[in-house]
Amino acid sequence: MAIKFEETGDGQYILDVCGYSCPHPQMYTKKALQKMCDGDELTLIFDNPSSGESIQAMLDNEGNELLDKVQGDGSFTWKIRKGA
Protein backbone atom coordinates (compact mmCIF):
# COMPACT_ATOMS: atom_id res chain seq x y z
CA MET A 1 0.00 0.00 0.00
CA ALA A 2 2.61 2.49 -1.09
CA ILE A 3 2.00 6.02 -2.27
CA LYS A 4 1.44 6.12 -6.02
CA PHE A 5 2.28 9.24 -8.07
CA GLU A 6 2.68 9.07 -11.82
CA GLU A 7 2.14 11.00 -15.04
CA THR A 8 -0.70 9.34 -16.94
CA GLY A 9 -0.70 11.61 -20.00
CA ASP A 10 0.36 15.02 -21.22
CA GLY A 11 0.02 17.27 -18.16
CA GLN A 12 -2.12 14.64 -16.42
CA TYR A 13 -1.04 13.16 -13.10
CA ILE A 14 -2.49 10.76 -10.58
CA LEU A 15 -1.74 10.63 -6.84
CA ASP A 16 -3.17 7.75 -4.82
CA VAL A 17 -2.72 8.04 -1.04
CA CYS A 18 -5.42 5.58 0.02
CA GLY A 19 -4.67 3.87 3.32
CA TYR A 20 -2.84 6.87 4.71
CA SER A 21 -4.18 9.24 7.38
CA CYS A 22 -3.16 12.77 8.31
CA PRO A 23 -0.83 14.32 7.55
CA HIS A 24 0.26 12.12 4.62
CA PRO A 25 -2.50 12.98 2.08
CA GLN A 26 -2.22 16.77 2.40
CA MET A 27 1.57 16.77 2.52
CA TYR A 28 1.90 14.47 -0.48
CA THR A 29 -0.66 16.56 -2.40
CA LYS A 30 1.40 19.69 -1.72
CA LYS A 31 4.54 17.90 -2.82
CA ALA A 32 2.86 16.57 -5.98
CA LEU A 33 1.55 20.01 -6.97
CA GLN A 34 5.05 21.45 -6.53
CA LYS A 35 6.33 18.93 -9.09
CA MET A 36 3.67 19.87 -11.66
CA CYS A 37 3.52 22.80 -14.11
CA ASP A 38 0.83 25.50 -14.14
CA GLY A 39 -2.30 24.22 -15.87
CA ASP A 40 -1.47 20.53 -15.27
CA GLU A 41 -4.21 18.39 -13.80
CA LEU A 42 -3.99 16.03 -10.84
CA THR A 43 -6.39 13.22 -10.01
CA LEU A 44 -6.12 12.76 -6.26
CA ILE A 45 -7.49 9.63 -4.57
CA PHE A 46 -7.62 9.47 -0.76
CA ASP A 47 -9.70 7.85 1.97
CA ASN A 48 -8.97 9.98 5.02
CA PRO A 49 -11.97 12.36 5.30
CA SER A 50 -10.25 15.00 7.47
CA SER A 51 -7.49 15.50 4.90
CA GLY A 52 -10.14 16.77 2.46
CA GLU A 53 -10.82 19.90 4.51
CA SER A 54 -7.13 20.73 4.72
CA ILE A 55 -6.52 20.04 1.03
CA GLN A 56 -9.49 22.23 0.03
CA ALA A 57 -8.13 25.12 2.12
CA MET A 58 -4.63 24.59 0.74
CA LEU A 59 -5.92 24.71 -2.86
CA ASP A 60 -7.82 27.96 -2.14
CA ASN A 61 -4.78 29.54 -0.51
CA GLU A 62 -2.42 28.68 -3.32
CA GLY A 63 -4.74 29.52 -6.21
CA ASN A 64 -5.27 25.96 -7.45
CA GLU A 65 -8.64 24.99 -8.84
CA LEU A 66 -10.76 22.08 -7.67
CA LEU A 67 -12.50 20.88 -10.84
CA ASP A 68 -14.45 17.89 -9.58
CA LYS A 69 -15.19 15.92 -6.43
CA VAL A 70 -16.51 12.36 -6.41
CA GLN A 71 -17.28 10.54 -3.18
CA GLY A 72 -17.53 6.77 -2.91
CA ASP A 73 -18.09 4.82 0.31
CA GLY A 74 -15.30 6.22 2.44
CA SER A 75 -13.06 7.27 -0.42
CA PHE A 76 -12.70 10.47 -2.42
CA THR A 77 -11.51 11.27 -5.95
CA TRP A 78 -10.73 14.91 -6.63
CA LYS A 79 -9.66 16.51 -9.89
CA ILE A 80 -7.36 19.50 -9.38
CA ARG A 81 -5.89 21.99 -11.85
CA LYS A 82 -2.70 23.68 -10.79
CA GLY A 83 -3.14 27.45 -10.90
CA ALA A 84 -0.74 30.02 -12.25
Partner: protein, 491 residues
Amino acid sequence: MKKQESAAASTLDLDTGNKVIDWFSQKRNRHAATIMGLVAICSAWALSNDMRWLYLLVYVWFGLIYGMFLQYGRFCMASAVRDLFAVGVSRMAVGVMIALCLYSMVAAVVNISGFGTFHPHPLGWHIIIGGLIFGFGIIFTGGCASGSLYKTGEGNMASALVLLSISFSQAFFVNLGDWSDKLAPASWTASALDKGMPEELSVEHGWFDQFTAGYIWDLEAATLADMMSVTQPIAKYFLTDSLLVTILPASIILVVLYKAYYCKGYLRRQKIEKQGMTCHLGGVWSMITSSKNTAIAGIGLGIFSGLHVWATGALRESYGIFNFGELLEDMGHTAGLSIQGTVFDPGYWYITTQEAQWGAWVMENVGMDMRSNIFFGMDNGIPNPLINAPGFMSIGIILGAAMLALLRREFKWKIPNMETALFALAGGLLMGIGARIAMGCNIGAFFATVANGDISGWVFLLGMVAGGYLGVQAFNFWMNWRTSQIDDCPL
Protein backbone atom coordinates in the same frame (compact mmCIF):
# COMPACT_ATOMS: atom_id res chain seq x y z
CA MET B 1 -62.70 19.62 -0.84
CA LYS B 2 -62.24 17.40 2.20
CA LYS B 3 -61.65 14.42 -0.10
CA GLN B 4 -58.94 16.35 -1.95
CA GLU B 5 -57.24 17.29 1.35
CA SER B 6 -57.43 13.71 2.54
CA ALA B 7 -55.95 12.45 -0.74
CA ALA B 8 -53.12 14.99 -0.52
CA ALA B 9 -52.41 13.94 3.08
CA SER B 10 -52.34 10.26 2.04
CA THR B 11 -49.87 11.06 -0.77
CA LEU B 12 -47.72 12.96 1.74
CA ASP B 13 -47.84 10.03 4.19
CA LEU B 14 -46.91 7.67 1.37
CA ASP B 15 -43.99 9.91 0.35
CA THR B 16 -42.76 10.10 3.93
CA GLY B 17 -43.17 6.34 4.29
CA ASN B 18 -41.19 5.72 1.10
CA LYS B 19 -38.45 8.08 2.25
CA VAL B 20 -38.18 6.22 5.58
CA ILE B 21 -38.05 2.87 3.76
CA ASP B 22 -35.41 4.24 1.36
CA TRP B 23 -33.41 5.54 4.30
CA PHE B 24 -33.50 2.21 6.11
CA SER B 25 -32.75 0.27 2.93
CA GLN B 26 -29.18 1.57 3.10
CA LYS B 27 -26.97 -0.55 5.32
CA ARG B 28 -24.90 2.35 6.62
CA ASN B 29 -28.04 4.17 7.83
CA ARG B 30 -29.28 1.01 9.57
CA HIS B 31 -25.91 0.70 11.30
CA ALA B 32 -26.04 4.32 12.48
CA ALA B 33 -29.59 3.83 13.76
CA THR B 34 -28.51 0.62 15.53
CA ILE B 35 -25.73 2.47 17.36
CA MET B 36 -28.15 5.16 18.51
CA GLY B 37 -30.75 2.53 19.48
CA LEU B 38 -28.23 0.52 21.49
CA VAL B 39 -27.00 3.58 23.37
CA ALA B 40 -30.61 4.54 24.17
CA ILE B 41 -31.52 1.00 25.30
CA CYS B 42 -28.37 0.65 27.43
CA SER B 43 -29.05 4.07 28.98
CA ALA B 44 -32.64 3.09 29.83
CA TRP B 45 -31.43 -0.24 31.25
CA ALA B 46 -28.83 1.50 33.44
CA LEU B 47 -31.42 3.96 34.75
CA SER B 48 -33.90 1.17 35.46
CA ASN B 49 -31.23 -0.45 37.65
CA ASP B 50 -30.39 2.71 39.53
CA MET B 51 -31.34 6.28 38.64
CA ARG B 52 -27.96 7.48 39.91
CA TRP B 53 -26.31 6.09 36.77
CA LEU B 54 -27.62 9.33 35.27
CA TYR B 55 -24.33 10.85 36.45
CA LEU B 56 -22.40 8.44 34.21
CA LEU B 57 -24.88 8.82 31.36
CA VAL B 58 -24.27 12.58 31.22
CA TYR B 59 -20.70 11.73 30.23
CA VAL B 60 -21.95 9.20 27.64
CA TRP B 61 -24.36 11.57 25.90
CA PHE B 62 -22.02 14.56 25.95
CA GLY B 63 -19.41 12.19 24.50
CA LEU B 64 -21.82 11.32 21.68
CA ILE B 65 -22.39 15.02 20.97
CA TYR B 66 -18.65 15.77 21.03
CA GLY B 67 -18.04 12.82 18.68
CA MET B 68 -20.61 14.07 16.19
CA PHE B 69 -19.27 17.65 16.18
CA LEU B 70 -15.66 16.45 15.99
CA GLN B 71 -16.46 14.28 12.97
CA TYR B 72 -18.63 16.93 11.34
CA GLY B 73 -15.94 19.61 11.54
CA ARG B 74 -12.97 17.18 11.21
CA PHE B 75 -12.04 18.90 14.44
CA CYS B 76 -8.56 17.91 15.46
CA MET B 77 -6.07 20.05 17.35
CA ALA B 78 -3.15 18.15 15.86
CA SER B 79 -4.33 19.46 12.53
CA ALA B 80 -4.52 22.99 14.00
CA VAL B 81 -0.79 22.96 14.66
CA ARG B 82 0.42 20.61 11.95
CA ASP B 83 -1.40 22.05 8.94
CA LEU B 84 -0.03 25.52 9.70
CA PHE B 85 3.56 24.36 9.42
CA ALA B 86 3.11 21.52 6.96
CA VAL B 87 0.78 22.97 4.32
CA GLY B 88 0.17 26.58 5.41
CA VAL B 89 -3.51 26.01 6.25
CA SER B 90 -5.03 27.86 9.22
CA ARG B 91 -8.56 26.33 9.01
CA MET B 92 -8.36 24.22 12.16
CA ALA B 93 -6.41 26.73 14.24
CA VAL B 94 -9.21 29.19 13.50
CA GLY B 95 -11.86 26.62 14.49
CA VAL B 96 -10.11 25.95 17.79
CA MET B 97 -9.99 29.67 18.62
CA ILE B 98 -13.73 30.03 17.89
CA ALA B 99 -14.54 27.03 20.09
CA LEU B 100 -12.30 28.38 22.82
CA CYS B 101 -14.01 31.79 22.91
CA LEU B 102 -17.49 30.25 23.07
CA TYR B 103 -16.48 27.71 25.70
CA SER B 104 -15.05 30.51 27.85
CA MET B 105 -18.28 32.51 27.62
CA VAL B 106 -20.46 29.54 28.56
CA ALA B 107 -17.95 28.56 31.28
CA ALA B 108 -18.23 32.08 32.72
CA VAL B 109 -22.01 31.71 32.98
CA VAL B 110 -21.65 28.25 34.54
CA ASN B 111 -18.98 29.40 37.00
CA ILE B 112 -20.98 32.46 38.01
CA SER B 113 -23.96 30.16 38.68
CA GLY B 114 -21.79 28.19 41.11
CA PHE B 115 -21.81 24.94 39.10
CA GLY B 116 -18.20 25.12 37.93
CA THR B 117 -16.13 21.94 38.26
CA PHE B 118 -12.78 23.28 37.05
CA HIS B 119 -9.56 23.18 39.12
CA PRO B 120 -6.63 25.28 37.91
CA HIS B 121 -3.37 23.56 36.99
CA PRO B 122 -0.05 24.21 38.79
CA LEU B 123 2.10 26.41 36.58
CA GLY B 124 5.68 25.31 35.96
CA TRP B 125 8.25 24.16 33.41
CA HIS B 126 6.66 20.73 33.26
CA ILE B 127 3.75 22.15 31.23
CA ILE B 128 5.89 23.45 28.39
CA ILE B 129 8.07 20.31 28.37
CA GLY B 130 5.03 18.01 28.43
CA GLY B 131 3.36 20.11 25.72
CA LEU B 132 6.49 19.86 23.57
CA ILE B 133 6.65 16.05 23.83
CA PHE B 134 2.90 15.81 23.22
CA GLY B 135 3.08 18.20 20.25
CA PHE B 136 5.90 16.21 18.65
CA GLY B 137 3.92 12.98 19.07
CA ILE B 138 0.69 14.23 17.48
CA ILE B 139 2.41 14.88 14.15
CA PHE B 140 3.11 11.16 13.79
CA THR B 141 -0.22 9.82 15.05
CA GLY B 142 -2.27 11.84 12.59
CA GLY B 143 -4.54 13.11 15.34
CA CYS B 144 -4.65 14.69 18.78
CA ALA B 145 -6.16 12.91 21.79
CA SER B 146 -9.77 13.71 20.83
CA GLY B 147 -8.98 13.52 17.10
CA SER B 148 -7.78 9.93 17.52
CA LEU B 149 -11.08 9.06 19.21
CA TYR B 150 -13.27 10.44 16.44
CA LYS B 151 -11.07 8.92 13.74
CA THR B 152 -11.38 5.55 15.47
CA GLY B 153 -15.12 6.09 15.05
CA GLU B 154 -14.56 6.58 11.30
CA GLY B 155 -13.09 3.06 11.22
CA ASN B 156 -9.45 4.14 11.25
CA MET B 157 -7.62 1.37 13.11
CA ALA B 158 -4.36 3.34 13.19
CA SER B 159 -6.17 5.79 15.47
CA ALA B 160 -7.33 2.86 17.61
CA LEU B 161 -3.65 1.89 17.95
CA VAL B 162 -2.93 5.47 19.08
CA LEU B 163 -5.53 5.06 21.85
CA LEU B 164 -3.98 1.76 22.87
CA SER B 165 -0.55 3.34 22.99
CA ILE B 166 -1.72 6.41 24.94
CA SER B 167 -3.53 4.19 27.45
CA PHE B 168 -0.65 1.88 28.25
CA SER B 169 2.15 4.44 27.99
CA GLN B 170 0.44 6.62 30.59
CA ALA B 171 -0.34 3.72 32.91
CA PHE B 172 3.26 2.54 32.65
CA PHE B 173 4.72 6.05 33.04
CA VAL B 174 2.89 7.00 36.26
CA ASN B 175 3.86 3.65 37.77
CA LEU B 176 7.59 3.72 36.98
CA GLY B 177 9.55 1.39 39.22
CA ASP B 178 12.44 1.94 41.64
CA TRP B 179 14.93 2.10 38.75
CA SER B 180 13.58 5.58 37.93
CA ASP B 181 14.32 6.98 41.42
CA LYS B 182 17.75 8.24 40.45
CA LEU B 183 16.18 10.43 37.76
CA ALA B 184 14.39 12.48 40.43
CA PRO B 185 16.36 15.27 42.17
CA ALA B 186 16.97 14.71 45.89
CA SER B 187 14.94 17.86 46.64
CA TRP B 188 11.84 16.24 45.08
CA THR B 189 12.31 13.08 47.17
CA ALA B 190 12.72 15.10 50.37
CA SER B 191 9.74 17.30 49.60
CA ALA B 192 7.59 14.26 48.69
CA LEU B 193 8.50 12.55 51.98
CA ASP B 194 7.67 15.75 53.90
CA LYS B 195 4.07 15.51 52.74
CA GLY B 196 3.46 12.56 55.07
CA MET B 197 1.64 10.46 52.52
CA PRO B 198 0.16 7.02 53.32
CA GLU B 199 2.84 4.33 53.37
CA GLU B 200 1.15 2.12 50.79
CA LEU B 201 1.79 4.78 48.14
CA SER B 202 5.56 4.60 48.74
CA VAL B 203 6.02 8.11 47.36
CA GLU B 204 9.80 7.91 47.69
CA HIS B 205 9.77 5.20 45.03
CA GLY B 206 9.03 5.89 41.37
CA TRP B 207 9.90 9.04 39.41
CA PHE B 208 6.32 10.12 38.79
CA ASP B 209 5.31 10.06 42.46
CA GLN B 210 8.28 12.23 43.38
CA PHE B 211 7.53 14.52 40.45
CA THR B 212 3.92 14.84 41.65
CA ALA B 213 4.40 15.20 45.41
CA GLY B 214 7.88 16.74 45.40
CA TYR B 215 7.52 19.18 42.50
CA ILE B 216 3.94 19.70 41.25
CA TRP B 217 2.36 20.03 44.68
CA ASP B 218 4.85 22.76 45.60
CA LEU B 219 3.71 24.94 42.70
CA GLU B 220 0.97 27.56 42.73
CA ALA B 221 -2.27 26.80 40.90
CA ALA B 222 -4.74 29.60 40.31
CA THR B 223 -6.80 31.27 37.63
CA LEU B 224 -5.65 34.73 36.57
CA ALA B 225 -8.60 36.27 38.42
CA ASP B 226 -7.51 34.53 41.62
CA MET B 227 -3.90 35.63 41.12
CA MET B 228 -5.11 39.21 40.71
CA SER B 229 -7.50 38.81 43.67
CA VAL B 230 -10.50 39.77 41.57
CA THR B 231 -13.57 38.67 43.51
CA GLN B 232 -16.51 40.59 42.03
CA PRO B 233 -18.26 37.81 40.01
CA ILE B 234 -18.74 39.70 36.70
CA ALA B 235 -15.18 41.08 36.78
CA LYS B 236 -13.81 37.68 37.80
CA TYR B 237 -15.54 35.31 35.41
CA PHE B 238 -16.46 37.47 32.41
CA LEU B 239 -13.86 40.24 32.30
CA THR B 240 -10.82 38.35 33.59
CA ASP B 241 -11.31 34.59 32.97
CA SER B 242 -13.21 34.91 29.71
CA LEU B 243 -12.26 38.24 28.12
CA LEU B 244 -8.70 38.77 29.34
CA VAL B 245 -7.45 35.16 29.48
CA THR B 246 -9.32 33.72 26.52
CA ILE B 247 -11.06 36.05 24.07
CA LEU B 248 -8.35 38.71 23.86
CA PRO B 249 -5.41 36.34 23.23
CA ALA B 250 -7.57 34.22 20.88
CA SER B 251 -8.47 37.35 18.88
CA ILE B 252 -4.80 38.32 18.63
CA ILE B 253 -4.01 34.79 17.41
CA LEU B 254 -6.79 35.07 14.79
CA VAL B 255 -5.30 38.32 13.48
CA VAL B 256 -1.81 36.76 13.34
CA LEU B 257 -3.21 33.71 11.50
CA TYR B 258 -4.95 35.99 9.02
CA LYS B 259 -1.83 38.04 8.30
CA ALA B 260 0.50 35.04 8.11
CA TYR B 261 -1.62 32.42 6.35
CA TYR B 262 -4.82 33.82 4.83
CA CYS B 263 -4.46 37.47 3.80
CA LYS B 264 -2.38 36.95 0.63
CA GLY B 265 -4.68 34.31 -0.86
CA TYR B 266 -7.79 36.29 0.14
CA LEU B 267 -6.63 39.50 -1.55
CA ARG B 268 -5.71 37.54 -4.69
CA ARG B 269 -9.05 35.71 -4.85
CA GLN B 270 -11.05 38.89 -4.26
CA LYS B 271 -8.83 40.83 -6.70
CA ILE B 272 -8.42 43.55 -4.07
CA GLU B 273 -5.71 46.06 -4.84
CA LYS B 274 -6.51 48.88 -2.43
CA GLN B 275 -6.27 47.55 1.11
CA GLY B 276 -7.97 49.12 4.10
CA MET B 277 -9.38 48.21 7.47
CA THR B 278 -12.77 47.23 5.96
CA CYS B 279 -11.12 44.92 3.48
CA HIS B 280 -9.09 43.20 6.21
CA LEU B 281 -12.11 42.86 8.49
CA GLY B 282 -13.87 41.19 5.56
CA GLY B 283 -10.82 38.98 5.17
CA VAL B 284 -10.87 37.90 8.81
CA TRP B 285 -14.58 37.10 8.50
CA SER B 286 -13.93 35.16 5.31
CA MET B 287 -11.20 33.18 7.14
CA ILE B 288 -13.56 32.36 10.02
CA THR B 289 -16.33 31.23 7.70
CA SER B 290 -14.17 29.62 5.00
CA SER B 291 -14.80 26.16 6.41
CA LYS B 292 -18.41 26.18 7.55
CA ASN B 293 -18.14 22.66 8.96
CA THR B 294 -15.22 23.64 11.15
CA ALA B 295 -16.90 26.86 12.29
CA ILE B 296 -20.15 25.06 13.14
CA ALA B 297 -18.23 22.36 15.00
CA GLY B 298 -16.30 25.05 16.87
CA ILE B 299 -19.52 26.76 17.94
CA GLY B 300 -21.17 23.46 18.92
CA LEU B 301 -18.18 22.13 20.83
CA GLY B 302 -17.70 25.44 22.64
CA ILE B 303 -21.31 25.62 23.78
CA PHE B 304 -21.72 21.95 24.70
CA SER B 305 -18.40 21.85 26.59
CA GLY B 306 -19.77 24.60 28.80
CA LEU B 307 -23.15 22.91 29.19
CA HIS B 308 -21.40 19.69 30.18
CA VAL B 309 -19.77 21.48 33.13
CA TRP B 310 -23.15 22.85 34.14
CA ALA B 311 -24.91 19.45 33.88
CA THR B 312 -22.30 17.64 36.00
CA GLY B 313 -22.11 20.52 38.48
CA ALA B 314 -25.90 20.53 38.89
CA LEU B 315 -25.97 16.74 39.42
CA ARG B 316 -23.19 16.96 42.01
CA GLU B 317 -25.20 19.55 43.90
CA SER B 318 -28.36 17.47 43.63
CA TYR B 319 -26.62 14.32 44.94
CA GLY B 320 -24.59 16.31 47.49
CA ILE B 321 -21.27 14.90 46.26
CA PHE B 322 -17.89 16.21 45.15
CA ASN B 323 -16.80 13.15 43.21
CA PHE B 324 -18.41 10.20 41.40
CA GLY B 325 -16.52 7.89 43.79
CA GLU B 326 -19.02 8.80 46.53
CA LEU B 327 -21.93 7.66 44.34
CA LEU B 328 -20.11 4.47 43.35
CA GLU B 329 -19.49 3.69 47.02
CA ASP B 330 -23.19 4.24 47.82
CA MET B 331 -24.07 1.87 44.99
CA GLY B 332 -21.68 -0.77 46.35
CA HIS B 333 -18.95 -0.46 43.71
CA THR B 334 -15.85 0.10 45.83
CA ALA B 335 -13.24 -2.05 44.07
CA GLY B 336 -11.94 0.65 41.72
CA LEU B 337 -11.84 3.56 44.17
CA SER B 338 -8.66 5.29 45.29
CA ILE B 339 -7.69 5.29 48.97
CA GLN B 340 -9.53 8.60 49.28
CA GLY B 341 -12.68 6.98 47.91
CA THR B 342 -12.42 8.95 44.66
CA VAL B 343 -12.24 8.15 40.97
CA PHE B 344 -11.26 10.34 38.05
CA ASP B 345 -14.25 12.62 37.51
CA PRO B 346 -13.30 15.96 35.95
CA GLY B 347 -16.87 17.06 35.22
CA TYR B 348 -15.84 18.45 31.86
CA TRP B 349 -14.44 17.38 28.49
CA TYR B 350 -11.26 15.43 29.16
CA ILE B 351 -9.50 12.63 27.31
CA THR B 352 -6.27 11.15 28.55
CA THR B 353 -6.65 10.20 32.23
CA GLN B 354 -9.57 7.82 31.62
CA GLU B 355 -7.52 6.14 28.91
CA ALA B 356 -4.66 5.71 31.42
CA GLN B 357 -7.22 4.03 33.72
CA TRP B 358 -8.17 1.58 30.94
CA GLY B 359 -4.52 0.63 30.53
CA ALA B 360 -4.02 0.34 34.29
CA TRP B 361 -7.14 -1.83 34.66
CA VAL B 362 -5.78 -4.31 32.14
CA MET B 363 -2.33 -4.26 33.73
CA GLU B 364 -3.82 -4.80 37.20
CA ASN B 365 -5.90 -7.68 35.94
CA VAL B 366 -2.82 -9.45 34.63
CA GLY B 367 -1.33 -9.22 38.11
CA MET B 368 0.67 -5.97 38.15
CA ASP B 369 0.65 -3.68 41.17
CA MET B 370 -0.81 -0.44 39.79
CA ARG B 371 -1.95 1.26 43.01
CA SER B 372 1.22 2.03 44.92
CA ASN B 373 1.38 5.41 43.21
CA ILE B 374 -0.34 8.75 43.74
CA PHE B 375 -1.92 8.95 40.29
CA PHE B 376 -4.07 5.82 40.56
CA GLY B 377 -3.73 4.88 44.25
CA MET B 378 -4.66 8.23 45.72
CA ASP B 379 -6.26 10.39 43.02
CA ASN B 380 -7.95 8.61 40.16
CA GLY B 381 -8.53 5.00 41.17
CA ILE B 382 -8.79 2.18 38.64
CA PRO B 383 -12.49 1.53 38.10
CA ASN B 384 -13.77 -1.28 35.93
CA PRO B 385 -14.22 0.24 32.43
CA LEU B 386 -17.92 -0.67 32.66
CA ILE B 387 -18.40 1.90 35.44
CA ASN B 388 -15.75 4.42 34.39
CA ALA B 389 -17.81 7.58 33.72
CA PRO B 390 -15.22 9.68 31.80
CA GLY B 391 -14.17 6.47 30.03
CA PHE B 392 -17.70 6.30 28.67
CA MET B 393 -17.32 9.87 27.41
CA SER B 394 -14.43 8.62 25.26
CA ILE B 395 -16.52 5.66 24.07
CA GLY B 396 -19.37 8.11 23.39
CA ILE B 397 -17.04 10.18 21.18
CA ILE B 398 -16.13 7.08 19.17
CA LEU B 399 -19.79 6.06 18.76
CA GLY B 400 -21.01 9.59 17.95
CA ALA B 401 -18.34 9.94 15.27
CA ALA B 402 -19.14 6.47 13.91
CA MET B 403 -22.83 7.36 13.58
CA LEU B 404 -22.18 10.55 11.69
CA ALA B 405 -19.45 9.01 9.52
CA LEU B 406 -21.87 6.22 8.53
CA LEU B 407 -24.61 8.71 7.69
CA ARG B 408 -22.18 10.81 5.62
CA ARG B 409 -20.76 7.80 3.74
CA GLU B 410 -17.37 8.43 5.29
CA PHE B 411 -17.04 5.32 7.43
CA LYS B 412 -14.42 2.90 6.21
CA TRP B 413 -12.54 0.15 8.04
CA LYS B 414 -8.92 1.03 7.52
CA ILE B 415 -6.21 -1.40 8.57
CA PRO B 416 -2.91 0.47 8.91
CA ASN B 417 0.20 -0.48 7.00
CA MET B 418 3.39 -1.09 8.96
CA GLU B 419 4.59 2.52 8.62
CA THR B 420 1.33 4.02 9.89
CA ALA B 421 1.05 1.44 12.69
CA LEU B 422 4.57 2.15 13.96
CA PHE B 423 3.95 5.91 13.81
CA ALA B 424 0.70 5.42 15.73
CA LEU B 425 2.38 3.43 18.49
CA ALA B 426 5.46 5.66 18.77
CA GLY B 427 3.45 8.90 18.54
CA GLY B 428 0.91 7.57 21.05
CA LEU B 429 3.74 6.74 23.44
CA LEU B 430 5.02 10.33 23.25
CA MET B 431 1.49 11.71 23.62
CA GLY B 432 0.94 9.58 26.73
CA ILE B 433 4.21 10.66 28.36
CA GLY B 434 3.72 14.31 27.37
CA ALA B 435 0.16 14.36 28.66
CA ARG B 436 1.16 13.00 32.05
CA ILE B 437 4.08 15.41 32.47
CA ALA B 438 1.88 18.36 31.49
CA MET B 439 -1.07 16.98 33.52
CA GLY B 440 -3.37 16.77 30.50
CA CYS B 441 -3.65 16.76 26.74
CA ASN B 442 -4.81 19.33 24.17
CA ILE B 443 -8.24 19.22 25.83
CA GLY B 444 -7.50 18.91 29.57
CA ALA B 445 -4.30 20.94 29.65
CA PHE B 446 -5.18 23.52 26.99
CA PHE B 447 -8.79 23.82 25.86
CA ALA B 448 -10.65 23.38 29.16
CA THR B 449 -7.88 25.15 31.07
CA VAL B 450 -7.71 28.37 29.06
CA ALA B 451 -11.50 28.57 28.77
CA ASN B 452 -11.75 28.57 32.56
CA GLY B 453 -9.30 31.44 33.00
CA ASP B 454 -6.12 29.46 33.71
CA ILE B 455 -3.13 30.80 31.76
CA SER B 456 -1.25 27.50 32.12
CA GLY B 457 -3.28 26.35 29.09
CA TRP B 458 -1.54 28.91 26.87
CA VAL B 459 1.81 27.68 28.18
CA PHE B 460 0.82 24.15 27.13
CA LEU B 461 -0.16 25.44 23.69
CA LEU B 462 3.22 27.13 23.35
CA GLY B 463 4.95 23.83 24.08
CA MET B 464 2.58 21.94 21.78
CA VAL B 465 3.19 24.38 18.90
CA ALA B 466 6.98 24.14 19.35
CA GLY B 467 6.75 20.34 19.47
CA GLY B 468 4.47 20.38 16.43
CA TYR B 469 6.95 22.51 14.48
CA LEU B 470 9.82 20.13 15.28
CA GLY B 471 7.56 17.17 14.47
CA VAL B 472 6.72 18.57 11.03
CA GLN B 473 10.44 19.05 10.28
CA ALA B 474 11.13 15.46 11.31
CA PHE B 475 8.13 14.23 9.32
CA ASN B 476 9.27 16.12 6.21
CA PHE B 477 12.69 14.54 6.53
CA TRP B 478 11.08 11.10 6.81
CA MET B 479 8.75 11.76 3.87
CA ASN B 480 11.57 12.82 1.58
CA TRP B 481 13.57 9.74 2.48
CA ARG B 482 10.54 7.48 2.09
CA THR B 483 9.61 8.76 -1.38
CA SER B 484 13.21 8.41 -2.51
CA GLN B 485 12.91 4.70 -1.69
CA ILE B 486 9.80 4.11 -3.82
CA ASP B 487 10.47 3.12 -7.41
CA ASP B 488 8.60 5.04 -10.10
CA CYS B 489 7.43 7.75 -7.70
CA PRO B 490 8.82 11.07 -8.91
CA LEU B 491 7.84 12.93 -5.74
